[in-house]
Symmetry: C2
């Protein structure tokens, strides 16, 4: 029943008007030749078509059918194989990949929008290529030239897929506990043995080969997280000419039965002396993994926006069609038996909440994508360093806030449907189930919050936070928006709370974890306020060009400022309560 | 994996210590002979045993298998039929039923606790008897003596089940639109024709007969909700001696495929000139349905608490077992590879949020159950009327706030499990799916909020609200709790916001629906604060008797006051923003 249409006008608004991407791309030598505004528009339009015609139609059937496992092989739902073949023909897997090895070299700022389209159309399908992109990033950053030459071209082409093998049954958040072993052999190869769980796309029937990136311990490695190395372990061995050789001793023991993303195979992977190659330095595997985490976590966060956008589009259509009751001010459709439910204030509240959060998140993903591009391609050392540090600060906010608000939105979108929202046929309940994983995987949102407050804010004494707040306040200074007072107030709140937590954390290490989730949310609302102010500022200037589009943008922003941003009041009060209330109970008293 | 154990000590604490049920039961003649404290304890203990040993073990398998439909018959999952037979042998269906027709006549205050146990053990299973209880209430209130004699005894015995047939495909919240017809025949019977959807237990294989309560229109009935009558339509006709006669022309056309409560059959019911009996007066069917709604909606609300309690118990066990990372203050279990995750402040935050919301809700369900008992059984006219009106005010708060916080809790309980929370095997994701329906059915939570603010607060000019606030302030006056200042402040906030909304609503009818959901939440937090103050007051007095139990109660209450109650700040600010931000967009601009 779901009918997804990519929000192309919103993408163009962000790229060209809010963030003036073309100007940026002009001054980054790595991008100048590759991309301009028209190309970006064409790419997004094409992505929207592929998503709507090829991928979205497989979302419901994929959920009903699920990925199937039998004797070590995984079968994706009907239609996935054909759709994937068509999809990779478009070159989408290598969209942001390194052109030196066959990637298209597109900026992250554009890639985030394509990612949103994919997740919106079909999260399970999107994951098969999302994990490949992540694996390519790690190989590109840490692999030898030989490994890159051998593995990246077929991976960017989508003929081979990548996975990330981190978690073990007893080691999730605490990767220091992993037990998978890697033993050197006579040549530069290693024999990998151990069992990994929750491996997205660990086995599937879409690609000719699967390239596993595996965290394992070398003999005599230090204990804990400083003794972990990263290995590349292909499903099929690869000959020097790139052809497939022997089957490696890595097998899929089973797949999980999950709440959602059922068409995505979540695998138990058993490595039984499998041949692998070291990526990066020995014992520095975690660091190697984390160099690409800012890219990956942003992408996974965008799943939250994608699912929420589809839920919004469905709920909007339903609210226009479904006739129940009359508007509080009297019949709006007197010739019909009842008014469309869009007339009811509470239905509008739910839809506007979704719209304001989605558009705020979309803008912020674009903003952080831009920072990642600057961090990667800027030739001004100061700018590059600043962008990298700022992206590092903001990435956990993206991952957790996009997905927490994504769940909230999908629940509103389900609620708009009333009883029909609970029925599988309509698709709204699937979006709730599918988006829920994004709060959990790629580091739970609780872990993201600890990363933000502990490592990124307290860790540098609040320096990068000050940079971010400074940027927002500077924008406000040069703006005559009616929301300047409110934004300034919210930035001051964030600064005040941050200063308090820096102080508290210096005496009591429990204070970070006690405040971190609320702190991340407070940060998220301030970030969205900044985005809304930037969007509204453009909308005000351009109003005459397209009253319908820009007045909607203004009204949605006004809704955000008046009805969503006040959530910071409670967040601050809760943070102030500190860690003490969390330790009033003995462990046995829970 | 789930291991549910009924929170008997908490039930006893509420019944005997906080609400002093025995004193009340002593002075209500209808209850004096039927129930005392020991009997109540024995009933709850037995309910806990039945739930843990008989019903909870079918929860996961029931979800996996689901109810099955084939050619008009519905098969419940394996084990349900046997368990139901054992369950009804205990007389549980008639627990709060009218003793004149074979019910046990137990107070609602006790029944709510048994209901919580049932929902906690297995929401799908619980629904089969919950709907019967609701149907019995309606028959008892509106049926002729002959109908009551014929139908109530086998229904209280659980041999026959009841359903509520309200919704039609085009008429959910707006029941005025229903089209099902009822034509009088030569005797006192009617022929019912039409199709109903979302009928819980409309068909099943557990009982000998099914008694449908059906909303339909008589010929020449007025349009809209004033032209709806209520009919009793049995699956099997019933002879004068109570034996089953001919099969009635009501059939189950299909069942829905849903997000959760999969073992509960949600049926499309087709009435094809089926024989029925009028219940209550013609054209007053909606009113007849609503006389029992306070009872039913409270029960459905309790599904929220039940699911959340099970999720809490599972999450607590997992947090004690799962070893990941170290406490921020250093290793707490240095002999193990890592500490149990219960040491982490954020895990404690999630568990305490669940615990504080569950225990607050449990107390409030008990409090409102007591009001319903007073409203039904009090022989002091003033007291009876006050209790009825107060219960009417508070019922939508129970239904919506128990289930909204129930979802929040189940999501926390899933998050505590990390990746394992997303896997079906562990049961935590099922609780999220199962509890979600309780925000939708029996009147969506948005509709509950409109009922609260529109009908119950604005509708009587704030009179009953004043009564409730007065009771809380009076309690505070006689208490020396450290939280008196905070509660008084919160009651003042509720009064202030209510006065503002009464004023706004007099000029602009959209203001009610614009504020209603946040208003209901604000009300809910104030109500829970009142409950926590009452519980903490008892805990302080009795501390010496059981330090472990009472100090946990105090610490949980302190958590509620310091970290959850501040949510009212944002709710108030959002309400103040009013309806205007909801109407900034044209309908076409969404």
């Amino acid at each position: 029943m779901s009918q997804y249409s990519a929000p192309l006008s919103d993408f163009r608004f962000l790229l060209h008007e809010v963030f003036q991407a073309s100007d940026l791309w002009q001054r980054l030598p790595a991008l100048t030749e590759l991309i301009d505004g028209d190309t970006a528009d064409a790419i997004l339009e094409e992505a929207g078509k592929v998503a709507a015609s090829l991928i979205a139609p497989l979302n419901r059937s994929g959920d009903e059918e699920g990925a199937q496992w039998a004797q070590g092989t995984v079968t994706t739902p009907r239609g996935f194989k054909q759709a994937y073949a068509t999809y990779i023909d478009g070159g989408w897997v290598g969209l942001a990949g390194n052109p030196a090895f066959g990637g298209m070299g597109m900026p992250k700022m554009l890639a985030v929008q394509v990612e949103e389209i994919l997740y919106a159309a079909n999260s399970s399908f999107a994951l098969y290529s999302a994990l490949s992109s992540g694996a390519c990033l790690a190989i590109d950053a840490h692999g030898s030239e030989a490994l890159k030459q051998l593995f990246l071209p077929p991976m960017y082409a989508g003929r081979w897929a990548g996975t990330m093998c981190l978690t073990e049954a007893h080691a999730g958040t605490d990767l220091g506990l992993i037990r998978t072993r890697a033993e050197p052999t006579v040549d530069d190869r290693y024999r990998i043995s151990g069992s990994k769980i929750f491996i997205t796309g660990g086995e599937q029937d879409l690609t000719e080969n699967i390239v596993h990136l595996v965290l394992a311990r070398l003999p005599d490695a230090p204990k804990g997280s400083r003794g972990i190395s990263l290995f590349l372990v292909p499903k099929w061995q690869v000959e020097a000419d790139g052809s497939l050789g022997q089957r490696n001793t890595v097998t899929c023991g089973s797949i999980e039965h999950k709440m959602g993303i059922k068409a995505s195979a979540t695998c138990v992977m058993n490595f039984d002396g499998a041949t692998g190659f070291l990526l990066g330095e020995a014992n520095k595997g975690l660091a190697a993994m984390f160099t690409m985490m800012n890219y990956e976590r942003l992408s996974i966060g965008i799943q939250g926006i994608g699912c929420a956008e589809t839920s919004y589009q469905n709920a909007r259509a339903y609210a226009r069609d479904r006739l129940q009751g009359r508007a509080p001010t009297g019949a709006q459709a007197p010739m019909q038996v009842a008014d469309p439910i869009l007339v009811h204030p509470d239905v509008r509240r739910m839809l506007l909440t979704m719209k304001a959060l989605n558009e705020g998140g979309r803008a912020f993903s674009c903003y952080v994508g831009q920072l990642l591009d600057l961090g990667k391609y800027s030739i001004q050392p100061g700018e590059q360093q600043r962008a990298q540090a700022l992206a590092a600060l903001l990435t956990p906010v993206c991952k957790a806030f996009f997905t927490d608000t994504g769940l909230e939105s999908c629940i509103h979108g389900q609620q708009v449907f009333g009883g029909h929202g609970y029925i599988r046929e309509w698709g709204q309940e699937q979006l709730v189930r599918d988006v829920r994983i994004a709060q959990i995987y790629e580091g739970t949102n609780g872990v993201q919050a600890l990363d933000l407050l502990g490592r990124k804010v307290v860790g540098d004494g609040g320096a990068m936070l000050a940079t971010f707040c400074g940027e927002v306040l500077e924008f406000v200074q040069h703006s005559d928006s009616t929301y300047c007072v409110q934004i300034t107030q919210e930035v001051r709140r964030l600064q005040r709370v941050s200063a308090l937590l820096l102080d508290r954390a210096s005496n009591d290490p429990t204070q970070i974890g006690a405040a971190s989730v609320e702190y991340l949310h407070l940060f998220g609302y301030v970030a969205y306020a900044y985005m809304w102010a930037r969007m509204m500022s453009v909308a005000e200037q351009r109003m005459a060009e397209d009253v319908d589009f820009y007045s909607a943008k203004l009204a949605t922003g006004q809704f955000f400022f008046s009805r969503l941003l006040p959530r910071t009041l409670s967040l601050e009060a809760t943070i102030l309560a500190g860690a003490e209330p969390l330790y009033g109970l003995l462990d046995t008293q829970f």
